[in-house]
């Protein structure tokens, strides 16, 4: 796994999702730890099938929410359908779903809101056949934004649930 970043691959990644660079290739696959590795040198198609990069780049590891909402949009459902298929195919990964909120809420409420978003995502994946025993949730509230700014377009990137692949389940 390489950590070098070249401009071209960064552009591709940015096109997929401005937030994608985080956690995709870092040592710790946890999105919220903020170690923020890059998609080093790998184009979208180059990820090994079944790898974390494959999941992040070709499936999409996150879904976004409307303001103060925990409802899964049709786009989000589409992403989660793909996630469910991929996770069923590669059944060895333990999965942590991280719920996040934007900064336009109070801290404690946002922990609860993030937990709801993670739970909504978990329920959807479970309903699509991913065993609930593989799915853990955690809420970071507004503590770990991926986009930093103070306008609406940016807050929307922070209102997210991220499906993070952990080590193989035993």
């Amino acid at each position: 796994m390489t950590f070098s970043i070249n401009a071209r691959s960064l552009k591709i990644v940015a096109a997929l999702s401005a937030a994608l660079a985080m956690g995709a290739c870092s040592k710790n696959p946890n999105d919220a730890d903020g170690t923020g590795g890059g998609i080093g040198g790998m184009g979208a198609g180059a990820a090994t099938p079944g790898s974390q990069q494959d999941f992040v780049v070709n499936v999409g590891d996150r879904v976004f929410f409307e303001s103060d909402s925990t409802e899964l949009t049709s786009t989000a459902q589409g992403t989660l359908d793909k996630q469910a298929r991929w996770l069923s195919q590669y059944a060895s990964y333990a999965i942590t779903i991280e719920g996040h909120a934007d900064e336009r809420g109070t801290r404690e409420y946002n922990f609860a809101l993030g937990a709801r978003r993670a739970e909504a995502t978990k329920s959807y994946l479970a309903a699509r056949g991913v065993p609930a025993s593989r799915l853990r949730t955690i809420s970071y509230g507004k503590e770990r934004p991926v986009a930093v700014c103070n306008d609406i377009s940016c807050w929307s990137q922070n209102r997210r649930a991220v499906t993070v692949l952990g080590g193989p389940t035993s």
């Binding site: 109070t106 801290r107 409420y109 609860a112 503590e143 770990r144």
Partner: protein, 446 residues
């Protein structure tokens, strides 16, 4: 009648003011006729008051200037007292035991004059004395002396400030208190957050955690050296209690899910908090002695930010059970929650009950702005103290006359802590080393 000009000091031990041997206090001679405590400023009447001009003269002695500086700075942020510019003083006090020349102070419209001295006792401890003089009568209206460890000199300045503030306003003091908060550093996407404690004026900063774990929402115990807070570590984020003297920390309860938003009961024996299970967050208490846990709410919504009334009989909290964040009050045993916030088009959150019992402070979101306000416990008398892009999380001073909160300008910058009086007359930044959030005011120390 005692001779006011006598430098002799009465040595009545005021046992109630002994604080762990750190500060021993005793009264300086005060004539019996004016010992009856009547306030000079009735601040209960509300927003319509004139701050009282007071001259804090330099305390005589080596450390006098530092002490005077701390006291003056305290009064500047008090809103109710207005310390006069030392440049306007026409009398230099060389003997603090002697009545000041009142004409000289009347000329600059001082209503009160503070004189004092700091001296090192033969045993190495510091002896601090002050006298408060009423310019209109020329009388000393209070006076104290304190013997203390030299490392404790900031506390003496706060104790002197409280004695003067209380004498003039008739209200309890608040200067001799501390605040726990979260020190924030590093970029916003991966902020490093440390539990930190400071004097209420921003002095004596001490870090209580290293920043390895993400920590938020610390809250002081009203009766011990404990701080409850939420921390991320292995597994679910949880509520912990840290003893700030011993550094020992323990998890609060064995709950099956994320616990957050802790607060102590007024007697310090219980912690109330939210537990997240599925998509719901409900309120629970844990008795710290028996470890017994009690469920207080059972909704499918988000119940959080609980805070006890000072008598422990009721709990205020926020809930979205009615569709949006609003403030509710219920009995301490749970049940019968009644909504008290009704502002049009507004969401209310982070309620906290004043230690005085008269107000509940909150964060209000309205038209894209985040404000801090207070209302009476029945929801009436709402008053917004400040409003802007993002103000959040009020906490009351131990006397209930002030709140601290944090303000975040958004973007890549970080939050800062501010203090304001509950009438909204004055607002002051609280100096912290870096960004600061989640302030929680502790009890009065002495």
């Amino acid at each position: 009648m005692t001779d006011l000009k006598s430098p002799a000091l009465s040595r009545r031990q005021a046992a109630g003011l002994l604080t762990g041997g750190l500060v021993a206090a005793s009264g300086l001679l005060v004539p019996a006729t004016v010992r009856a405590q009547s306030a000079y400023l009735d601040i209960r009447r509300g927003t319509n008051f004139q701050p009282i001009p007071i001259a804090v003269t330099n305390f005589v002695g080596e450390q006098g200037q530092a002490l005077t500086g701390i006291i003056t700075n305290n009064f500047k942020r008090s809103v109710f007292l207005q310390p006069l510019d030392p440049k306007s003083f026409s009398q230099q006090i060389t003997n603090p035991d002697q009545a000041p020349q009142m004409d000289a102070w009347r000329m600059i419209n001082a209503q009160f004059v503070v004189t004092g001295r700091v001296a090192r006792a033969p045993d190495g401890r510091l002896r601090t004395e002050f006298r408060l003089w009423d310019v209109s009568t020329g009388q000393q209206i209070t006076g104290q002396q304190y013997v203390t460890d030299p490392n404790n000199s900031r506390r003496v300045a706060h104790i002197v400030s409280d004695a003067i503030f209380s004498r003039i306003t008739g209200e309890k003091g608040f200067f001799d208190s501390r605040v726990v908060f979260v020190d924030e550093s590093g970029p916003k996407e991966r902020r490093i957050k440390r539990l930190t404690i400071m004097d209420q004026d921003g002095g004596n900063v001490r870090y209580l955690s290293k920043g390895d774990d993400l920590v938020v929402t610390p809250r002081f115990s009203p009766s011990s050296q404990d701080v409850a807070y939420m921390a991320f570590g292995q597994g679910d984020p949880r509520v912990f209690i840290l003893n700030i003297e011993t550094g020992q920390r323990e998890v609060v309860g064995n709950f099956p899910g994320m616990t957050f938003s802790p607060r102590f009961s007024p007697d310090g024996q219980k912690v109330i908090m939210s537990l997240s299970q599925g998509s719901a967050s409900n309120l629970f208490t844990m008795d710290l002695r028996s470890r017994a846990t009690t469920r207080l709410t059972d909704t499918s919504g988000i119940d959080t930010s609980p805070s006890f009334a000072p008598d422990g009989s009721q709990i205020v909290f926020e809930s979205d059970r009615g569709g949006s964040q609003q403030i509710y009050v219920m009995g301490a045993g749970g049940g019968g929650a009644k909504r008290i916030s009704y502002g049009e088009g507004a969401r209310y959150s982070t309620p906290v009950w004043s230690p005085k019992g008269d107000y509940i402070a909150f964060t209000r979101q309205k038209a894209g702005a985040f404000g801090i306000g207070v209302m009476k416990p029945d929801g009436s008398g709402e008053r917004i103290i400040t409003e802007g892009y993002h103000n959040e999380g009020p906490t009351f001073a131990p006397n209930g006359l002030y709140v601290m909160f944090f303000r975040d300008p958004g973007g890549a910058a970080g939050p800062r802590i501010f203090m304001a009086d509950v009438f909204g007359r004055g607002e002051f930044p609280v100096a912290t080393p870096g960004f600061g959030s989640d302030p929680a005011w502790g009890p009065l120390l002495s």
